[in-house]
């Protein structure tokens, strides 16, 4: 291999394990089917608490090492008590986390040492949609802007390629940019 590959890079990502999983799962595609789960309980007013613990994949049930909870609410300007992030901010959080994890993993694969990565996200929204004032205005974001500041042992073009590839492989980027069927039922 080339000199590039001999450089010791550590972004804390176990790329060998990921590549091994890719190899194994391409031979056993059934095991690649995952199911992600969340449970949300209403607390009071617009305040709710979502928890995640169990998930399914590799043909069996799994659980996170501990249960993670997220308080969701609306801010005071919406006459709420602001006990947590808004749900739309959590969508931005998911997108940011997914793209950032992708940047780290791809950098590791490409032997690029990261020193710092910061993503700044903005989701523009006209709340005439959710308030039902104007039916031509959608409920969701008009658009999402993501800005990355990355300090790494790489050229500007290599950094841009990292960010582009991260979007290409991102689950949340796919979820927010493409339609998804959502089925809601009541027990």
């Amino acid at each position: 291999m080339t000199a590039v590959a001999e450089k010791q890079v550590n972004n804390g990502v176990n790329v060998e394990a990921l590549l091994g999983a890719r190899e194994a799962l391409s031979k056993a595609p059934e095991a690649a089917k995952f199911n992600w789960k969340a449970t949300c309980k209403w607390v009071s007013g617009t305040h709710s608490r979502t928890s995640v613990k169990a998930f399914y994949g590799l043909g069996q049930d799994h659980a996170h090492k501990s249960e993670f909870t997220f308080d969701l609410d609306h801010p005071e300007v919406f006459a709420s008590e602001d006990k947590g992030a808004t749900p739309v901010e959590l969508v931005l959080t998911g997108l940011a986390g997914c793209l950032t994890a992708g940047v780290a993993a791809i950098a590791q694969r490409r032997n690029i040492q990261l020193r710092s990565v910061k993503a700044t996200l903005e989701g523009a929204m006209d709340i005439q949609g959710i308030l039902g004032i104007d039916s031509d205005v959608r409920n969701g974001f008009d658009g999402i802007k993501v800005k990355f500041d990355i300090d790494a042992d790489a050229t500007q073009e290599e950094i841009e390629a990292l960010v582009a590839q991260s979007q290409k492989r991102s689950a949340v980027f796919d979820i927010v940019t493409n339609p998804t069927n959502v089925t809601v039922s009541v027990n």
């Binding site: 080339t2 590039v4 590959a5 490409r110 073009e157 582009a164 980027f173 940019t177 493409n178």
Partner: protein, 452 residues
């Protein structure tokens, strides 16, 4: 009827194999469902020209002898070229003989055709890479009143209703059809997914000249790290029309084509597009620039820098701030959807258990997972140029070696290993690019002459 080898398909790949077999006096017959060069003759749109220049259509023992080496052949010229080749090599072609089944037997294969039954010891599948158009399943939701057409059915804009046209797909096919249809006075919206932008000419030469000379087209299937991806990459955005002009998204936008992202769904008569257009364009620009860097490095290493114009970099793909994410087909006047979403081979008549779970033939560089069965002419079969007319010769020679050994009863026939890097500079560069950065190997797929 009996022969040692049956070659299925009398296109460039089957003819090249025929010539290579004849060189070793291996008894064979070519079975052709129509006439020589049938797909070129019957499954291409009227204005199409090859995406490779005339000089590059080299077949074993045959090449371009005309006075326009840098031109691009029309389809009738391509057909005539292959007909002349078939004559020159006295190819044993049985025309109008469609294969209906291929089965294993004790000593080889039994091949049923519309003109009788054949037996052979080996079979070469050379029936083309583009027999069937891929149409995404979402096409089923297309509303009544909007015509649906595949790139195989398209001949010229006069077939289309007056009104808007949604062209889905921006590989070589999609961009060429978008340009032609927009030129006919119909408003085109182009749905752009993964695509590969490429200048037609670079530093005074055709881009194919650079890729050929620098050895990029010779990169072998056993030298790259993500072969299945390389085999799936869309064709380069190139055209053989327009006298060396580049046909990229900027050129299409300049003539009024509206750009949208990948078609992600059809609901209640509304087309839904992905929000990923900016990233698709960014990925494509990065891949193109990566290739141009490789070309520049090779040119410098060869001492060409004084001889050819200096390196160029092209303006990034311009994407408007908020490209459309939905389009009401009726309200926006779209009367036709044209699917330029790729092609796949048709091996439905092959009754041999060699298919993977996605219906593709399992093979190692064209040596199929069944003794005496060979495959030709698919993208990156043995090297990047495998689907080009120009790629048939090298693949045919190597597969013939394996096939001849099989006929001689040598169990473990060996294919020649990767040739020593005669163009060490570019090979090293390509490998470091692969390990360090963009996946150049998979991004610069051969501009398949047949991926039209």
């Amino acid at each position: 009827m009996r022969t040692d080898v049956l070659v299925i398909g009398a296109g460039h790949a089957g003819l090249a194999m025929s010539r290579c077999l004849a060189e070793r006096s291996i008894d064979h017959v070519i079975l052709e469902r129509g006439e020589v060069a049938n797909s070129w003759k019957t499954e291409r749109w009227d204005s199409l020209r090859l995406l490779t220049p005339n000089w590059q259509s080299r077949l074993p023992g045959y090449g371009y002898a005309g006075d326009d080496p840098h031109g691009y052949r029309t389809m009738p010229e391509t057909v005539a070229f292959l007909e002349r080749y078939a004559q020159a090599i006295a190819a044993p072609v049985r025309t109008r003989t469609a294969v209906t089944s291929v089965r294993r037997t004790q000593e080889g294969y039994a091949v049923q055709t519309t003109q009788g039954a054949w037996r052979s010891r080996a079979v070469v599948l050379a029936s083309g890479a583009c027999n069937l158009p891929n149409i995404p399943s979402l096409a089923a939701a297309l509303p009544a009143g909007v015509a649906s057409l595949t790139a195989h059915q398209y001949r010229n804009p006069r077939q289309l209703a007056q009104g808007g046209v949604l062209v889905v797909g921006a590989s070589a096919t999609g961009v060429q059809l978008a340009e032609e249809i927009q030129g006919s006075g119909r408003q085109v919206t182009l749905a752009v997914g993964e695509h590969i932008r490429m200048p037609r000419r670079y530093r005074g030469r055709d881009i194919q000249w650079w890729m050929d000379a620098a050895g990029i087209l010779d990169l072998r299937y056993d030298e790259i790290d993500d072969l299945s991806r390389a085999r799936d990459v869309p064709s380069l955005q190139l055209t053989g029309n327009a006298h060396g002009r580049t046909l990229d998204l900027n050129a299409l936008a300049a003539i009024g084509v509206r750009l949208a992202a990948r078609l992600a769904g059809l609901r209640d008569g509304t087309a839904l597009f992905s929000g990923s257009l900016a990233n698709q364009a960014a990925l494509s620009d990065l891949k193109m620039n990566r290739l141009l860097e490789a070309v520049d490095a090779w040119a410098a290493a060869q001492g060409l820098d004084g001889e050819v114009p200096p390196p160029e970099r092209f303006e990034p793909t311009r994407i408007e701030a908020g490209p459309p994410i939905s389009l009401d087909l009726a309200r926006s006047g779209i009367r036709t959807v044209l699917w330029a979403t790729g092609f796949r081979p048709d091996h439905s008549w092959l009754d041999v258990p060699v298919f993977d779970r996605k219906g593709r033939i399992r093979h190692d560089g064209g040596v199929v997972d069944a003794p005496g069965l060979y495959l030709m002419g698919l993208p990156f079969l043995r090297r990047r140029k495998s689907a080009l007319i120009d790629g048939a010769g090298d693949d045919a020679r190597e597969l013939r070696a394996h096939l001849a050994a099989h006929l001689d009863g040598k169990a473990a026939a060996l294919l020649p290993s990767a040739p020593l890097a005669q163009r060490a500079g570019i090979d090293l560069l390509m490998r470091s690019t692969m390990s360090g950065g963009m996946k150049l190997t998979s991004s610069v797929v051969s501009a398949s002459t047949s991926s039209t």
